[in-house]
Amino acid sequence: MQNCEYQQIDPQALPTPTPTPPPHHGHDGDKTEEPRRPRRKWEVFPGKNRFYCNGRIMLARQSGILPLTLALILVTSGLFFIFDCPFLVKHLTSCIPVIGGVLFVFVITTLLRTSFTDPGILPRATPDEAADIEKQIDNTGNASYRPPPRTKEVLINQQVVKLKYCFTCKMFRPPRTSHCSLCDNCVERFDHHCPWVGNCVGKRNYRFFYTFIVSLSFLTAFIFGCVTTHLALRAQGGRGLVFALQESPGSAVELVICFFSVWSILGLSGFHTYLVASNLTTNEDIKGSWSGKSGEDVTNPYSQKNIFINCCSVLCGPMPPSLIDRRGFLPSEDSAQPGSADIELPPLATKSEINACTQGTKGLLESATLSPLLSASCPQGKPQTAQTCPDNGSAVNSGPSPQLSTSCGVRHPAGSTGDRSSLHHTRTRSKKSKRAALHIPNPAFDVPVSPTSPDTDPSFKAGGHKGAGFTPLH
């Protein structure tokens, strides 16, 4: 144990922002020489994410329908450049492929940035921090295994805001932070989990997401307009639309795709423009946090009360750094004990025995108590996501299961009868969209499906997305 403490201090005693490979086992940094090469933090990251390029790129574990999104965009744009551009360049102007090209580049770049960027994940609390918080809350002295509701109230700009305790990440969530059960991470300024981009949308990638949907609206509308013009020009002189379609079959495909997508994408852009202008997140809007539905006089404490300033602060503000330090090296003791470190503890776990015991016992008992209840109420059996459901129950005093089944069930109907008519509209339109038609058209909104069920068919997400493909969480 003394050895352990010595090792635990040394790397942390160097308060340098650039981590170095651990010095203890480390007169050889070589991977070949020593069986235990220094591991990077992304390799033991506890959330459900996938990492590529040695930690430079990250995605949610389920990529959702990102391949479909990419395929649709590439196919439509490809057909546009092949079938429509030559004709339009000849008959109209050569600006058309240029504009199309610029929009296409914007769309693809911002889509990839949204998908591959850390949305603002908060690293989980270290055992010491968690123990410190537990000490502050649990002042009864005895360990009660059923977690009591844990909330903390703060006053932000004269508005009372409740901070909830996250049982998975073992910390009080900062304001506007939510835990995404699909990715099993707390995300700052959580907007929603978007299956179309295969990632959460949060503080760090909201601007990319917004630019993506706005440029996609322009691209879709542009292609739609060009294809219509193209077919109209071909059909001139009494030759008819059928003739035009026969000459340019690709245009028919584009027409169908664009016609069905443009409404939902435009609706989504409009909705998010509203959110940006009022400095709201989709999550807050759906839950009606600041709309005063509870009858109290509540206003959004984060809004600067000026549309222009709100837009600037959300879209053009300083780019916050990634807090999870994916490519940093682990301290050597963690790489020596991959079993326990990988699953439960965050990468910089310090091996304080007492803390680990408290965490381990409480965690085990929490998951043991809650998972059978969850598997009954929510049709999904993964124990990791089961842990996040207590966050729903934690706000309520009595036992978790009835609350869970109602809260899980209530999520979607509440969402579908949400406040924003445009949102509801968008969702209704999207049900008829071609994308939904590719999957089983499914009245997903009427089915109280658990928000923590990543394995349900993507049609739920497809039907749900436009403006609502989030899992509105906690």
Binding site: Q2, E5, Y6, Q8, I9, D10, Q12, A13, L14, P15, T16, P17, V105, F106, T109, T110, R113, L122, P123, A125, T126, D128, E129, D132, V154, L155, I156, N157, V161, L163, M171, P174, P175, R176, E188, R189, R207, F208, T211, P301, Y302, I309, C312, S313, L315, C316, G317, P318, M319, P320, P321, L323, I324, D325, L348
Partner: protein
């Protein structure tokens, strides 16, 4: 590091007696700001005023990083126009200030905290949630474990 060297000379292993966590202060919103309340565990080790000054300077540095001003808007607009590709090659203003904060913390540790057997951990290593202060056992009175 003074404490480290000292411990090597004496006992060959520094012992941590406890850690204190300075939590975030959310009264002004989601900006990064830490509470300046003086933790009771540090009373015997350091001046209240010194501690408050350190935390206040940290808060000011984070405010500078997150400031919405002409420069950050320019950076944001330029990034938008280039479809955010410039973030791949350019260091953002925030990152520059974070480096400055790293140097400040190192400096504070060397000059003020280490001689008193304390160690500040850069909040970025804790996800900007807390300022972790490690209290080393006072070797003048205690014995090793």
């Amino acid at each position: 590091m003074l404490a480290y060297t000292h411990s090597l000379q004496d006992l060959q292993q520094p012992t941590v007696s406890s850690k204190v966590f300075v939590q975030r202060d959310y009264s002004s919103g989601t900006i990064c700001k830490f509470q300046t309340k003086f933790p009771s565990e540090l009373e015997s080790r350091i001046d209240k005023q010194q501690f408050e000054e350190t935390v206040q300077t940290l808060n000011n540095l984070y405010a500078e990083a997150e400031k919405l001003g002409g420069k950050s808007y320019l950076e944001g607009c330029l990034a938008c126009l280039t479809a955010y590709t410039i973030f791949l090659c350019m260091e953002t203003h925030y990152e520059k200030v974070l480096k400055k904060i790293g140097r400040f913390i190192k400096d504070q540790n060397e000059k003020i905290y280490a001689p008193r057997g304390l160690l500040l951990t850069d909040p970025i290593e804790r996800g900007l949630r807390v300022v972790e202060i490690t209290i080393f056992e006072d070797r003048s009175i205690g014995s090793g474990r």
